[in-house]
């Protein structure tokens, strides 16, 4: 049975179209990840329309490629220009850039590539080992518990995504409210459609996600700001892998970084930046000569890069097994799965074993492509970095509109995209975090379905959510995450301390 599935998955992933899709994803991810201000989330959202047109295996391969490529791409800019291309690469610049200014940029990039691969592989291993067990465990959960878990997942994201919890809560609730438009999930009766047939399908996920992550950047670039100086001109660099002896001495660092990243990745609401700083901090403390950190040591590059890639696989664990995306990138990925008719959750592992194996294989292939691409094409990426932001952003605007339209050939999708985009921009202006909206639109329908199912099963007894011990535990945890200033302050001061030490 397993062999049969495995050979099927191998055929799916080994198909030229899938390989091409993964490669395209990796390339696009690295480029977008390397360009400061353009996020991996945005890259993934822009690729959604293309994934929508593809069969499942290449579609998910494309997006996983963007994820892996994006996370590793951020290190290029961090090392060469001292600007992290992605938040995850923030810790990498601490030692990466000093190395580059000494003329060892190639070696720093090579170390980053090797560390990324190591981190990715450890994380993949964790995914393969842990996810099925967790899914089997999660199968025993009832609707009330699943509802409570989704609430907890939302709360964690709200808790960490902004300065004001109340504004985060409002943002999440607004997202939930939008998702009630359309056919009622249980009865199939239209709700809030104002007699418009077009609205019966509800809010279309792809355009909404493109809008949330592409439009604000396009508009923000219009705000006047002082431009002083020009970006440092990058010299010709090629990545050089560490020598065998160096690699051997870096091995413990790779391992520690990868394990920290993998462990952090499983916890929703954490993600690459935290993992990278924690690993850097841990490495510095473990070192016999901590004063050298920050002056350009290879371990200072290896630790955060192993850690931020350690997140890539393990962040999929809660998403695939419990339908809880831990960060925005994984949330967009989850949206893509849902669009392809794959409902994340414990049942996925029983019903779609070939797909799950395909995810493992795609990640593996994506990492191999990433390493090859990073080693061979870095001079090309450096050229891309020289393209001016206005050029890129105006093309992204056109692409966002075309991509939204392509989803179902309607102008409604374009308007949905623009609506969510402008909403996200305004929210940002007034201090409301946008990430909770993303989570809410992905999780909203699941939240309502589990809520209603739980009520049906309990015969309309609303106490079901608090009388079942597990459900009660999750809900209490959710409240703690949101309203316990102690926990919040501890978490944010930890992050703050690490950042201060880092900068």
């Amino acid at each position: 049975m397993l062999l049969e599935n495995l050979s099927q998955a191998l055929m799916d992933i080994g198909h030229p179209m899938t390989l091409l899709a993964i490669f395209a994803g990796v390339l696009f991810g690295i480029v977008m990840g390397a360009i400061p201000g353009l996020t991996v989330t945005m890259a993934m959202a822009l690729m959604l329309p293309f994934s929508f047109m593809l069969p499942t295996a290449p579609a998910i391969g494309l997006l996983l490629g963007v994820h892996v490529g994006g996370i590793t791409g951020g290190s290029v800019t961090a090392i060469l220009l001292r600007i992290p291309g992605t938040p995850s690469a923030s810790a990498t610049l601490l030692d990466g850039h000093p190395m580059a200014s000494r003329g060892e940029g190639g070696k720093a990039l090579g170390t980053a590539v090797m560390a990324s691969f190591f981190g990715g592989m450890v994380s993949l291993l964790a995914l393969i080992l842990i996810a099925p067990q967790l899914a089997a465990l999660a199968l025993k959960l009832g609707a009330a518990e699943l509802f409570a878990i989704v609430v907890l997942g939302l709360s964690i994201i709200i808790g960490v995504s902004g300065r004001s919890v109340i504004k985060g809560i409002i943002a999440g609730l607004i997202g939930l409210a939008f998702m009630t438009v359309g056919l009622d999930p249980m009865l199939g009766v239209p709700r809030f459609t104002f007699d418009q047939i077009a609205l019966q399908a509800g809010v279309s996920l792809i355009p909404a996600m493109i809008g949330l992550f592409a439009i604000p950047q396009i508009l923000e670039e219009l705000e006047p700001r002082l431009r002083t100086g020009t970006r440092a001109v990058a010299r010709r660099v090629t990545a050089k892998l560490p020598s065998r002896a160096e690699a051997r001495s870096l091995l413990p660092t790779f391992l520690r970084g990868s394990l920290i990243g993998t462990a952090i990745g499983i916890v929703p609401g954490t993600g690459g930046p935290i993992a990278a700083f924690l690993a850097y901090d841990r490495e510095k403390r473990a070192s016999r000569e901590p004063e050298k950190f920050g002056t350009g040591v290879m371990r200072g590059v290896a630790a955060p890069e192993a850690a931020n890639n350690g997140v890539t696989g393990s962040a999929l664990i809660p998403m695939l097994t419990l339908a809880i995306p831990g960060d925005p990138i994984v949330a967009v990925l989850m949206g893509a799965l849902i669009i392809h008719g794959l409902q994340p959750g414990p049942l996925l592992f029983q019903e779609q074993p070939v797909f799950i194996l395909g995810v493992y294989l795609s990640l593996l292939v994506a990492y191999v492509f990433t390493v090859v691409t990073q080693l061979r094409l870095i001079p090309l990426f450096v050229q891309v970095l020289k393209i001016k932001r206005p050029y890129l952003l105006s093309v992204i605007a056109a692409l966002a509109v075309a991509g939204s339209y392509a989803v179902d050939n309607t102008m409604l999708a374009v308007w949905t995209m623009l609506f969510f985009g402008i909403l996200a921009y305004l929210m940002g202006k007034f201090g409301f975090p946008v990430i909770p909206v993303l989570l809410a639109i992905v999780l909203g329908p699941i939240l309502e379905a589990q809520f209603r199912r739980a009520l049906v099963i309990s015969g309309g007894d609303p106490t079901v959510f608090v009388t079942r011990p597990l459900s009660l535990t999750f809900l209490v945890l959710a409240l703690l995450v949101l309203f316990s200033p102690l926990i919040r302050r501890a978490a944010s001061s930890l992050a703050g301390r690490l950042l201060h030490r880092g900068s």
């Binding site: 992290p84 938040p87 300065r163 109340i166 709700r191």
Partner: protein, 177 residues
């Protein structure tokens, strides 16, 4: 600025209005129960009530804050995970750009122009089609970004439009409007 001081309060009132409208609409939905469980109105109603409560809290808190706005605004040293990480580590040039952004913050005109460009593009797509509207969008956006080289504007507008159109046509078999 007084308006800025009451910014949150104004938003909270608008949100309360939204919550009320949403709750009213939800109340209009058929109320019959499904297998003894509350029907399709219950979940939207709960969301509406929650928005109402949260907005009310925001309103009260922002009014209290506006009251003692005389004292210096105290910034908690909390870190916005997504943004904080980047902004803290940006290079010198970006940091000064950041400072410039704050000083010029009231200039809301430019983004409004941007929103207007995007919305009119959506409208133009329906009216005159992709191949006419898109070069116009690109040219306008580039102009708004301060690009003044005609070579770039014309080349990029025409080139990007053509490339996107062809990619969607041949790769995805979609004819843009």
């Amino acid at each position: 600025m007084t308006l800025r001081k009451y910014q949150d309060a104004i938003i909270a009132v608008l949100l309360l209005g939204f919550a009320g409208l949403f709750a009213y609409q939800a109340g209009q939905l058929p109320q019959e129960h499904v297998q003894r469980a509350p029907g399709m109105a219950i979940y939207p109603l709960l969301v509406a009530v929650a928005i109402g409560i949260a907005s009310f809290v925001l309103l009260v808190r922002s009014l209290i804050k506006a009251e003692d706005a005389g004292s210096e605004e105290k910034q908690e040293p909390e870190v916005d995970l997504e943004e904080g990480v980047t902004s803290r580590n940006e290079s010198e040039e970006d940091r000064s750009a950041e400072a410039g952004k704050q000083r010029l913050a009231p200039h809301i005109l430019f983004p409004i122009v941007g929103i207007a460009i995007l919305v009119s593009y959506g409208w133009a797509l329906e009216a005159v089609g992709y191949l006419v509207a898109t070069p116009a969008l690109l040219a306008l956006l580039l102009l708004a970004y301060g690009v003044r080289s005609w070579k770039v504007i014309v080349g990029l507008s025409a080139g990007a439009t053509a490339v996107i159109y062809l990619v969607f046509y041949y790769l995805l078999l979609i004819r843009l409007p």
